[in-house]
């Protein structure tokens, strides 16, 4: 496992690298959110990005799919620097990407079938019948064929996630990004979703990036795990390497103590009352 500047050590001329991030830095105002992120993701692997709340994992995902603009550094997807592409080039490039958002982000005015069909309708010249067949095939893949005519408001949390996944894979993307796929789901549904992600990787050969804070889910699906803490990479490694890490912060994450920061009493009281009083 690599630590401190993990990807730097791993960097190679590996032709299988489909996502390359180099020295990624981003700020929200004066706050540094991502600080020198350096990572490679190889073709056909499932990379899980995990960390506590506010660690920057969702922000990193948003940068990878260009929903946020970085302060500095480079992000290459399939050999192309994302920020160097014009909007039109990136829109065309997006056909190779699939994104399943945390809350599903299904269009509430469309049925599940119409949601899944949208990328096909917008990016292909397929006839209606072919598109309907493809939609049913993808809904079958995610075990959601019965929901084709339902509206998103009629779906359960797990069904929404699966419908979002069906929409994300309908164009058979090379890269699939999933933001917290099992958050808020019961263990059985969460486990089924994990199986589905593994199946997608095995059957369709996709490279999958999953952002999650669910440890069980991460260990179940990951080929490799990137651990983020306060905008920096703590470690990148296989499940066993992360599990056996000697790093205190990683062990704190694994034992669910990650959020408990060590504060002295004065600092704690200052946070509570602000700068208005002497403490």
């Amino acid at each position: 496992m690599s630590e401190a500047t993990p990807a730097a050590a791993e960097r190679s001329d590996d032709a299988d690298i489909v996502i390359g991030v180099r020295d990624l830095v981003t700020h929200y105002g004066d706050r540094k959110i991502l600080d020198g992120i350096d990572m490679d993701i190889r073709r056909g692997e499932i990379m899980v990005i995990m960390g506590g709340s506010g660690s920057g994992k969702s922000t990193l995902l948003r940068h990878l799919i260009r929903l946020e603009r970085k302060t500095s550094g480079t992000i290459e997807l399939l050999g192309r620097e994302v920020d160097d592409m014009s909007d039109y080039e990136f829109y065309a490039f997006c056909r190779k990407l699939g994104v399943a958002f945390q809350g599903g982000a299904l269009f509430s005015s469309m049925t599940v079938g119409e949601n899944v069909m949208l990328p096909l309708r917008e990016h292909t010249k397929l006839d209606q019948t072919t598109m309907e067949i493809m939609v049913r095939m993808k809904l079958e893949v995610v075990d959601l064929a019965i929901a084709e005519t339902l509206m998103p408001a009629e779906l359960s949390g797990g069904m929404i996630k699966r419908a979002a996944l069906a929409r994300a894979i309908v164009m058979d993307p090379t890269l699939l990004f999933c933001d917290e796929p099992s958050a808020g789901l019961d263990p059985v549904v969460s486990s089924a979703l994990d199986e589905l992600i593994l199946r997608l990787r095995d059957a369709m050969g996709m490279t999958i990036v999953v952002v999650t804070h669910e440890l069980e889910s991460a260990f179940r699906i990951a080929d490799r795990i990137t651990v983020l803490d306060r905008g920096k990479i703590l470690a990148i490694g296989t499940v066993d390497e992360v599990r056996n890490s000697k790093n205190d912060r990683i062990q704190a994450l694994l034992t669910r103590r990650f959020e408990e920061e060590e504060l002295d009493a004065e600092e704690y009281i200052r946070r509570l009352v602000g700068d208005k009083q002497n403490v």
Binding site: R62, Y88, Y91, F101, A105, F107, D275, K276, N278
Partner: protein, 272 residues
């Protein structure tokens, strides 16, 4: 540790807030102008960029903003027509000139009242709905989802709404002209003892095509303004449901303000 007192703290805060609001206003104006430009861009370049503007959403928007607004606009236009007739006759009676009421009412309706009432109603009805829709879509990451699918949100959401508004608001104004003039006629004809046919003759003699075009052309601008304000306010949402409510209210207030101000400028320019 105590924070150091700032000299003239409240005055500084006031000017900071004024500065922030000004910057926000300029930003929103710039964003609105960008949306207007991008609408034309996607309309004419969409096919070449493989981002074709589709007809179905335009018809859906036209149905929602235009056809479904017909009943309420008809009722209010009729009411406004009758009200103008009542006020006109009442005011002119003191000069013994109530027969001139047709001229005032016809010009007032076609040049001012029909476009203004229609614009205000559409802003309250469709502008607010547009802002609420955009805000909800922003919060639920649907706008992000569009981008990640390679679908430009302006082409997908803004262009159909803007085209539908630019066509349907003038269409509604023409309808409002007819209904308001009819309402006024129903009161005026018996009140000044003329036939309905004579009222129609007098009305047609009083107004010209230019008068109707004056109202109709500015209403097309109102339609575009309502859309831009709805989109700009809707996409500026922060927070959850409360934020959606806030931007929806803002869209109505800003939309009506924009319509009234533009109307004044338009009338000033057209009557010079």
């Amino acid at each position: 540790m105590a924070a150091p007192d700032r000299p003239n703290g409240r005055a500084v805060e006031f000017f900071e807030e004024v500065g922030r609001s000004t910057v926000r206003g300029v930003e929103q104006f710039g964003y609105g102008a960008t949306l207007f430009w991008q609408t034309f861009y996607w309309l004419f370049m969409g096919r070449a960029r493989q981002q074709r503007v589709r007809m179905a959403p335009i018809f859906a928007e036209a149905m929602e903003a235009g056809i479904r607004a017909i009943p309420i606009i008809a009722i209010l236009s009729m009411t406004i027509g009758i009200m103008l007739a009542l006020q006109g006759i009442h005011a002119l009676k003191s000069f013994g000139a109530e027969h001139q009421v047709v001229l005032g009412v016809a010009l007032g309706i076609t040049r001012e009242f029909a476009p203004l009432i229609t614009g205000i109603l559409v802003a309250g009805r469709s502008g607010s709905a547009l802002a609420a829709r955009l805000a909800t879509m922003t919060i639920s990451q649907e706008i992000d989802a569009l981008r990640s699918m390679g679908i430009d949100p302006v082409r997908f959401l803004v262009v159909p709404a803007m085209l539908a508004m630019a066509v349907m608001v003038p269409t509604l104004v023409i309808m409002a002209d007819f209904v308001a003039l009819l309402g006024a006629g129903l009161y005026i004809a018996p009140e000044i003892d003329i036939t309905m046919a004579a009222y129609i003759d007098q009305t047609l003699a009083a107004i010209s095509v230019d008068d109707v075009l004056h109202g109709v052309s500015k209403s097309a601008i109102f339609g575009v303004l309502i859309t831009i304000v709805g989109i700009v306010d809707g996409s500026s949402v922060t927070g959850g449901a409360e934020g959606v409510g806030r931007v929806t209210t803002a869209a109505v207030v800003h939309g009506i303000s924009a319509i009234v101000l533009t109307d004044m400028v338009f009338v000033f320019a057209a009557t010079r």
